[in-house]
Amino acid sequence: MTRTEPNRSRSSNSDSDKNSGNGGGGRTTAMRVIVPLQGVVQGRGGLFLGSVIPCAFFYFLQFYLKRNRKNDESDNSGEQNSSASSSSSSPNSGLPDPTRSQSAGHLTELTGLPRSLSRILLSPRNSGGAVSVSGRVNCVLKGGDSSPYYVGQKRVEEDPYDELGNPDGVIQLGLSQNIKLSFDDWVLENAKEAISDGLSISGIASYEPSDGLLELKMAVAGFMSEATKNSVSFDPSQLVLTSGASSAIEILSFCLADSGNAFLVPTPCSPGYDRDVKWRTGVDIIHVPCRSADNFNMSMVVLDRAFYQAKKRGVRIRGIIISNPSNPMGSLLSRENLYALLDFARERNIHIISNEIFAGSVHGEEGEFVSMAEIVDTEENIDRERVHIVYDLSKDLSFPGLRSAAIYSFNESVLSASRKLTTLSPVSSPTQHLLISAISNPKNVQRLVKTNRQRLQSIYMELVKGLKELGIECTKSNGGFYCWADMRGLISSYSEKGEIELWNKLLNIGKINVIPGSCCHCIEPGWFRICFSNLSEKDVPVVMNRIRKVCQTCKSQN
């Protein structure tokens, strides 16, 4: 940096110039450069220019280097990833190392297979004649093909299990499909009317409000109240209907955060958030890891640390996304949890997105489901404006194909923006009419929901019992369709690599598609998400046999 002294008087300036100007002959050329520079920086605004010019030079250099480095980085990211993960694994797999990363979740995204769809890596290159597409395309395609989530899904599609037709096929335990709940009885009793009423097309074909018919909103509000055992009364005018929970979460992401901002998300979390929150919005996710030692409950200390670290890095946090009942653990957040979260959000002036899509699928006897809506019911207006709830009618009714989810908010501006955005993801009108006739009979609805819950509970208990006999423990799940299973005893190395190896065995030897914890961004390797809503009671022993086979393979190898 220059040797400026801001308090020099003019006379001494000229003195020093003269002196420098008369400097030794051998250094004349260099002096000719330095002297004018010195003159410039010692003149008016000396200190300012003296700092700015070198700084500017420094930043331009960094910028130039960064641009060139960025291109290399993206090519090498694959190698970086695997080296990062191997460094965190302990070769002797003794005591588990609960942390894979130092900063909350930042490195976690990079470890393992390049499956997380993080920031746009490259600006699109125009290689000769081929026309280029947006940076998003790279993210979507690159992340998709190798992810266990998609690979497993593909295997199920190619070779689906069928009790009679294909008993050696792959059993789908990855996501909710082919749900064997009490739908059939209900359909046989009620469907005919519902279906034919709902299917007449006159009066339903023209444009309707894209955020849903009032009648359907009223029915959905009723459903949501049911799920809270009527401790909350939901107002239909605060509902915005859209074609699926993914769309609901994406709409909220667009409304609550700008590109470059981030949401805090406790992990393990739903694998879908990477897509729903990040793909098109430019918004990022900062994972806040929860540990098995805490039963995967959220720690306010860790949450706070994550917020603070993000702030230090210059990333603005706009909200926190929680799921209740949680995905994948199925745990219910307690009132204390929820109040603490609200406090946290208030202190930081951020939003809360409460993903309550499994609210109607609470099957456990312990604990109660408390909606975020209940917590803010008695709070001041300002706090209510930061709470937004996502609900999915399809989950409760087992109609995933019909695409009907909802955003519930107390914030009029969010509702207004969301309503307009639903033109881009509306619920089809025949579907709305079908749903209206299907759920407008409260007694039937109650019976359907109750029977669903009972079935979920009995399958869940069978599954957990079977897994326990194989030495696999699960966390206690009180709601939703998933078991969160601890398979750390079966992995060959306590690392993501070991987890993926086990996942591969489960898929190829066991022929079951489960979701490895890394897809859920769990920082402890060895946990797996098993979806049981697809199973009937007689399927459970089949699944157990398959897992037993894999266990035996693992044990003989270890």
Partner: protein
């Protein structure tokens, strides 16, 4: 829990801390404050009804097709909803359908869409069902393509006048800009190579990267097809600049004479060069041709594999209900029915068009020579007191308040010439159309008498 939170309190933490929303949420890029939508509000408040409210506002700003709805209703009722909808399986068939949530879409439905699109083009182009990506409406299809083809702050070139909804669909969440390709009445608003070049240069001068050209063919609001030569020039332009070409063909089934429509698919059909083909993408929807806007069925058809794969995955945000797909699959695959429907629909639209254009001519009003769509492009330039955008809006207001007709001013379509208005004619009964024409006649008569008095 229960542990004290860390010290860092935000500087403006007090009881008046209102939580902020994003720029997207508070921006008005959704365009719903434009006259295009304001007129709808007036209509909602005082809608015309033949018997109950004969002096209400007649909605002529909504491009909806109700002329051939009876054909659909008869077909669906005849085939017995229960039986056809869920096949012989009945309720279990419904259950299977309700559980289907694959973003590939029902294969039968995609095949039906492909075959329907081929029929509309008279078999002059083939459509591969595996290149069809389903979205909940053309609105979503256009937005999705924009997300895929362009990055924030890039631009798409769009010929004016264009559908006001593009301001929202192409720009709002995507962050992409629209740079207009100015067209005027000197050549019936056709796109010229000079206008294309000029628009491209405008973008370059502003340091904006152009990623593609998006046209509507047949055009909304012009109600006219794009000539084959223009399409070929467009494709050339896009190849030279190495950008994409998106053709929104949602009114393709509403061309009055099939022979007058050339789809970009036809142009591409005989091209083998992949680097040329893979820049072409087509958007289609059932909302206009079939008159089923509430069903929200749209599609992206792309010759580019990466675009198809990405669009398919991104369509997760905007899937078409499986029930809807199933309902329409059998109807659209019934080639006998669709051939009849397309033919009769075209005929009825043509007759409506002729009725309104003749009626307007008798009142002394000229329209652009159109051959497609659910609207006509009317020239009221001679009625403007001031030949400015304000003058046009003033006239629009008069038409809305005095004549109780909601039509769309050209400025909301970004037309560079003032005085043009889009008038929809297919979303009402013939009687209502007569009433609307009568009101216009009376208005023009009153004006002539006033002028005579002044002179």
């Amino acid at each position: 829990m229960g542990l004290p939170l860390m010290m860092e309190r935000s500087s403006n933490n007090n009881n008046n801390n209102v939580v902020e929303l994003s720029r997207v949420a508070v921006s008005d890029t959704h365009g719903e404050d434009s006259p295009y939508f304001a007129g709808w509000k007036a209509y909602d408040e005082n809608p015309y009804d033949e018997s109950h409210n004969p002096s209400g506002v007649i909605q002529m700003g909504l491009a909806e097709n109700q002329v051939s709805f009876d054909l659909l209703e008869t077909y669906l009722e005849k085939k017995n909803p229960e039986g056809s909808m869920w096949g012989t399986k009945g309720a279990p068939g419904f259950r299977e359908n309700a559980l289907f949530q694959d973003y590939h879409g029902l294969k039968t439905f995609r095949q039906a869409m492909a075959s329907f699109m081929e029929q509309i083009r008279g078999g002059k182009a083939r459509f591969d069902p595996d290149r069809i990506v389903l979205t909940a409406g053309a609105t979503a299809a256009n937005e999705l393509l924009t997300f895929i083809l362009a990055d924030p702050n890039d631009a798409l070139l769009v010929p004016t006048p264009y559908y006001p909804g593009f301001d929202r669909d192409l720009r709002w969440r995507t962050g992409v800009k629209i740079v207009p390709i100015h067209c005027d009445s000197s050549n019936h608003f056709q796109i010229t190579p000079e206008a294309l070049e000029s628009a491209y240069q405008t973008a370059r001068d502003a340091n904006i990267r152009v990623r593609g050209v998006l046209i509507t063919n047949p055009s909304n609001p012009l109600g006219a097809t794009v000539q084959k030569k223009v399409l070929e020039d467009l494709l050339d332009f896009c190849v030279r600049k190495n950008i994409h070409l998106v053709s929104d063909e949602i009114y393709s089934g509403s061309v009055f004479h099939a022979s007058e429509f050339t789809s970009v698919a036809e142009i591409v059909e005989n091209i083998d060069d992949v680097s040329v083909k893979e820049r072409v993408h087509i958007v289609y929807s059932l909302s206009k041709d079939l008159g089923l806007p509430g069903f929200r069925v749209g599609t992206i058809y792309s010759y580019n594999d990466n675009v198809v794969r990405t669009a398919r995955r991104m369509s997760s945000f905007t899937l078409v209900s499986s029930q809807t797909q199933h309902m329409l699959a059998s109807m659209l695959s019934d080639e006998e029915f669709t051939e009849k429907y397309i033919r009769i629909n075209r005929e009825r639209l043509r007759r409506r068009y002729e009725t309104i254009v003749e009626g307007l001519k008798k009142a002394g009003i000229e329209c652009l020579k159109g051959n497609a769509g659910l609207f006509c492009w009317m020239n009221l330039g001679f009625l403007l007191e001031k030949k400015t955008k304000d003058g046009e809006l003033q006239l629009w207001d008069v038409i809305l308040k005095e004549l109780k007709l909601n039509i769309s001013p050209g400025s909301s379509c970004h037309c560079s010439e003032v005085g043009w208005f889009r008038v929809c004619f297919a979303n009402m009964s013939e009687n209502t159309l007569e009433i609307a024409l009568k009101r216009i006649h009376e208005f023009m008569d009153r004006r002539r008498r006033k002028e005579k008095m002044i002179n």
